[in-house]
């Protein structure tokens, strides 16, 4: 089924690969549709869907450009964005490297264990020496390969004068290997190769789990990203136009912005008029009408006919970049957060090291000889940095993130889960967070014909009201009528013909409060009123948070009147009209007062607040930058994942603490045995496997906790 991955490079001269991110791929049908329909287009050789990453790789002739392919995807029903490079490639490579190391360590562990069991069950003399030599031959390359992640990280920590979990691991493994080699060469009775390799194997499993969780959720988030203007058509003095990448634009250039295109820089409209969708910057869903002289900002989407824009600020000077800078600075504080595993190892590592040294000195003083003393010191090192410690955190976090993904919440990494568990105040943005952020019409008055005509018209347009109308109709199960001769007039609406009758959707003839449009089919007319509804389960979610001891507030940049309406409906304290800087300041104040605020928001104006908050969540409809800044992204129209995330995060931390307690309890039992020289390689091997299995088993209980929430 996966056979067509490698494409033959025979006629590669005139063929190229372009990759698109297509967030709407949700089922087998979507895969089949894209992979069957696209190659029917002339110039497209093949299309390959990667479902996990929500990407499509298209192999096509050089004559087709990104625009043609995006259009082709849209005509078969998928919104797509070209991706120039893969920001996830590095992460991906790390995960692969770890998986390879796990495979190598697993191979080594099994084979060495096979030989060790024979030694334990009584092999002696030449046979034992032979088995030790064979073990050494297998173990040395395996440790060299599979141990690299630990050695590299331990070296890094030591270079900066710090210590982490990897330092005792590396020292233990290296010493055990060196001593085992010595034993092998001198025909000793015990070698510890299997302990060293098994330690690496279990620890690598923990690392690989951690990395897999990160790539899986980041792929989901990455699929949602990438809607910003990345290039612009610059008009040359001779009237021709040329595509220029966003970072190469200069102030003073005249650019042509086509309908549906996102602006790549700030500027002033010089020719043309229409409306822009500023949702990315402000989170406000009502389109803003613009004409000659209006200021427009990077990230805004031009809704109607083409306009010419004289650029005033580019790259680092745009309003968007300013907010990005704020976000960057705000995010600094979060990088100071120390993960629980590192906090544990800061206390733990010095104890382990001094115990090992003390054991060595003690046995030397007792006259045991340097060889036996060293063996005991190593046994202490190996047995006290058990795999249980390395697995305690990632095992629980991976299971929890799996449970959360099933409920529509993508958590970026383990540290996000740890921080989510600690929040005690929740701040919500209004538009797009507590509300859906897209205008929804009241369609109860329409009859069946009117509904299908309305969908036929609305789906042809990119105007936010049309999109809202089409979404509402589709969710009612309406199928579109075939409307011919559809024409969209900027600021006026859509017209077309259906069964010979003139049909249209457009601006209402009488002025209405709020957003409205008028549908006409023949002589009949309906006025459709739009509003931005509160998410259906906002109330329950806020109650759930309350019962978890988290107080909720509204923190919005919108006008006071609109915010008060939502606040009174939900019974929340609200602060309206807050600028990004004010939001940031409020968060800093809360933090200074000893609170751990959770920020839930979607607009770019929430970006700095999202980055500064102790933990943050954004809806999947949020702007790219906000999704980048947030710790987690929730999908769908329900707000419930927010409360669910906190519940699961707290359960996870409870399990992690149990795991730690277990690991410490195990040490209290094992350390005296090791100190008195009673730990043979056999005991070490059994203790290690059993403790790891218990920790993993305990973590798996979280999967059930996720189901209990129903």
């Amino acid at each position: 089924m996966n056979a067509s991955v490698a494409l033959p490079p025979d006629h590669a001269e005139d063929l190229r690969d372009t990759r698109f991110t297509v967030p709407a791929i949700r089922c087998a049908g979507c895969i089949a549709k894209i992979e069957r329909e696209l190659p029917k287009l002339s110039g497209v050789e093949s299309a390959r869907v990667n479902f996990s990453a929500k990407r499509v790789a298209i192999r096509h002739a050089a004559s087709l450009d990104e625009g043609d392919l995006t259009l082709a995807l849209r005509t078969i029903g998928f919104e797509a964005q070209p991706v120039s490079d893969n920001p996830l490639a590095r992460d991906d490579a790390d995960t692969r490297m770890l998986l390879r190391a796990v495979a190598v360590a697993g191979f080594g562990m099994m084979n060495i264990m096979l030989l060790s069991v024979s030694v334990w069950s009584g092999a002696s003399g030449t046979t034992r020496d032979l088995f030790h030599w064979l073990s050494a031959i297998i173990a040395l390359p395996v440790i060299g390969y599979a141990g690299r992640p630990f050695f590299a990280s331990a070296l890094m920590a030591l270079r900066y004068g710090r210590t982490n979990m990897d330092v005792p691991i590396s020292i233990g493994v290296l010493l055990a290997t060196a001593l085992s080699l010595y034993e092998t060469v001198t025909s000793g009775a015990h070698a510890y190769f299997e302990s060293a390799v098994m330690l690496l194997f279990f620890l690598l499993c923990g690392r690989a789990l951690d990395a897999t969780m990160r790539t899986r959720t980041r792929a989901g988030i990455g699929a949602l990203l990438g809607r910003m203007g990345k290039s612009a058509s610059v008009l040359q003095p001779d009237g021709s136009s040329q595509r220029v990448a966003a970072e190469d634009l200069e102030a003073g250039m005249l650019v042509l912005v086509a309908a549906g295109e996102a602006l790549a820089a700030d500027g002033v409209i010089e020719q043309g008029e229409g409306a822009v969708d500023n949702a990315m910057l402000t989170g406000e869903s009502t389109p803003q009408s613009v004409s000659v002289g209006s200021e427009v900002h990077a990230g805004a989407i031009n809704l109607f006919g083409p306009v010419q824009v004289r650029l005033t600020a580019v790259a680092g000077d745009t309003a968007l970049a300013e907010i990005a800078r704020l976000m960057d600075e705000a995010g600094q504080s979060r990088s100071l957060y120390v993960r629980i595993a590192d906090r544990a190892s800061r206390l733990y590592a010095p104890v382990v090291h001094s115990l090992a040294v003390l054991a060595f000195i003690g046995w030397m003083l007792a006259g045991a000889g340097w060889h036996q003393s060293l063996v005991i010191a190593i046994a202490v090192l190996i047995i006290t940095c058990p795999c249980a410690m390395g697995l305690a955190v990632p095992a629980a976090q991976v299971v929890a993130s799996g449970a959360l993904i099933k409920r529509g919440l993508l958590v970026k990494d383990g540290s996000a889960l740890e921080r989510l568990a600690e929040v005690d105040v929740a701040l919500f943005d209004k538009t797009g967070t507590l509300t859906l952020g897209t205008p929804r019409p009241d369609i109860s008055a329409l009859d069946e014909d009117a509904r299908s005509v309305a969908l036929g018209l609305a789906q042809a347009s990119r105007h936010p009201l049309s999109k809202g109308l089409a979404d509402a109709l589709r969710s009612e199960g309406v199928s579109a009528a075939i409307v011919e001769d559809i024409d969209e007039q900027s600021g006026q609406g859509l017209t077309g013909r259906w069964e010979g009758m003139a049909v249209s959707i457009g601006r209402p003839q009488t002025d209405q409060d709020g957003m409205a449009s008028e549908l006409s089919v023949g002589n009949r007319r309906w006025t459709l009123l739009f509003n931005d509804p509160i998410r259906g389960d906002a109330r329950q979610t806020i109650n759930r948070l309350q019962s978890l001891g988290i107080e909720s507030r509204i923190l919005s940049g919108d006008a006071r009147k609109a915010v008060r309406l939502v606040a009174s409906e939900l019974g929340l304290f609200a602060q309206a009209g807050a600028s990004p800087q004010e939001k940031l300041r409020l968060l800093e104040e809360l933090k200074a007062a000893g609170h751990n605020p959770l920020m839930v928001g979607d607009g770019i104006n929430d970006g700095p607040a999202l980055a500064a908050a102790h933990a943050s969540i954004a809806p999947s409809t949020a702007s790219d930058a906000s999704q980048q800044a947030a710790d987690a992204v929730f999908i769908g129209e329900k707000l419930a994942p927010v409360a669910f995330a906190v519940t699961i995060a707290r359960k996870t931390m409870k399990i992690v603490r149990q795991n730690f307690k277990f690991a410490i309890g195990y040490n209290i039992l094992a350390i005296p045995l090791a100190l008195f020289g009673l730990v043979t390689p056999l005991i070490a091997a059994i203790a290690m496997s059993v403790s790891s299995l218990i920790v993993v088993g305990n973590s798996l209980r979280l999967a059930r906790a996720g189901k209990d929430q129903e």
């Binding site: 089924m1 996966n2 991955v5 490698a6 089922c27 087998a28 049908g29 895969i31 089949a32 069957r36 869907v49 990667n50 479902f51 996990s52 990453a53 692969r96 998986l99 390879r100 495979a103 190598v104 191979f107 099994m110 084979n111 096979l114 046979t127 064979l134 297998i138």
Partner: protein, 48 residues
């Protein structure tokens, strides 16, 4: 004892074979799209 001369190389060889198979699978992209593989089984292959 002579049995060991056969059995140990066989055991090692089989282990290495498994390892090689895993590396090959990873290199050829078998693990690139785990969720996709689960869905692709549902696609009806015959064109009507």
């Amino acid at each position: 004892m002579t049995g060991l001369a056969f059995l140990i190389p066989i055991a090692l060889g089989m282990g290495l074979l498994g390892l090689a198979a895993f590396f090959w699978a990873m290199r050829s992209g078998q693990f690139d799209d785990m969720d996709g593989a689960a869905h692709r089984i549902l696609i009806d292959e015959d064109d009507e």
